[in-house]
Symmetry: C2
Subunit: 201 residues, 2 copies
């Protein structure tokens, strides 16, 4: 069982990229074997539930990554502005300046929303909640913070759609730097966002 879990976690990142590239319906087992190098037998041994279990596991691993890398710092980091800057830097890296899409957002738009509703909702709600907390600690009222968080998440998701539609690699970083200006107090947002690579949590 421990061995199976090791194989799963080795396959998960690759499977994630396949789902990202082709969507849920467009991802075939043939494409998975091509991308992972593993045979059908290995894939079904690691994920007896087949394609659906693979997608569920991929979504869960994405959720875990965001939880530890972004949400947790947003909730716990003593300096709220630093946590927010950290979020923006992590988001820029994770989405590769807009050249990598958000799989959760893709599934949210499609028919897959119903199948993966709980995980999709959990991801967006977790982000909203964590960012709201950071904004409250940064001095905003709760209602203002909640609104601002909602706007920020929509801006990120929208910029990912827009950047891919326009095939403009400058668009997503531009959206993030505007976001920095809106989320951070003026005196603090003067530090450039993109260049500060992981100031830590």
């Amino acid at each position: 069982m421990g061995e199976k879990a090791a194989v799963r976690s080795r396959l998960l990142p690759v499977l994630g990229e396949v789902f990202r590239s082709y969507g849920y319906e467009g991802t075939s087992v043939a494409r998975m074997t091509a991308a992972t190098g593993a045979g059908k037998g290995s894939l079904y041994n690691a994920f007896p539930g087949g394609k659906e279990e693979m997608a569920q596991a991929v979504l869960a691993s994405i959720d875990r990554w965001f939880e530890t890398a972004i949400f947790l710092p947003l909730r716990d980091e003593p300096s709220a502005p630093q946590a927010i800057r950290h979020m923006l830097a992590q988001v820029e890296t994770y989405f590769q300046s807009g050249q990598r899409i958000c799989l959760v957002g893709l599934f949210a738009l499609g028919d897959e929303r119903d199948r993966f509703a709980i995980r999709i909702r959990h991801y967006f709600a977790g982000w909203q909640s964590a960012l709201t907390q950071a904004l409250v600690r940064a001095g905003h009222s709760h209602t203002a913070a909640s609104t601002l968080a909602e706007e920020a998440i929509a801006s990120i998701q929208g910029a990912l759609v827009q950047a891919r539609a326009m095939q403009d690699t400058t668009l997503f970083p531009r959206a993030l730097s505007r976001l920095a200006a809106r989320l951070l107090p003026v005196s603090l947002s003067e530090q450039p966002v993109t260049t500060l690579s992981h100031k830590g949590e």
Copy 2:
């Protein structure tokens, strides 16, 4: 030929909703026949290029609708604020308060982006250009208007993703009313956009 075009335009709206519901890969000919009531023969008679031609035609019809209903007023309406209010009202209706997704945005995120790149880009670029023109007429500098237009389109696309992810029907109208506050001068934005319950932030 004229008859064929009539059949096409009768089928297009239904095919559009099927693509919206199931995505490009998820849309099968069987689902099309079920939704339209037409047999496979009729579908392939109207669209000899099959599924791809159908999707191209759907995207073209969406683009035409936005062009006449939204982009053209944004460019030509003498009162720029009125054109912008008109845009927001049309967007709210078209996307059914966020319960209907943007097919162009869905295709932009997926693998379909490459196949339909020109049309997808044309849709987003046309919107960006028309809204920028309206904002310039409303008194913004060209660079400010361009930035604001980019932000507005991202906010709309992002709010559609977010609304579906959270399954929250109040989210999209809320995003639109915030947008009204940002795009319109204060004195003019006091007029309600639709029946908006939120006066802004």
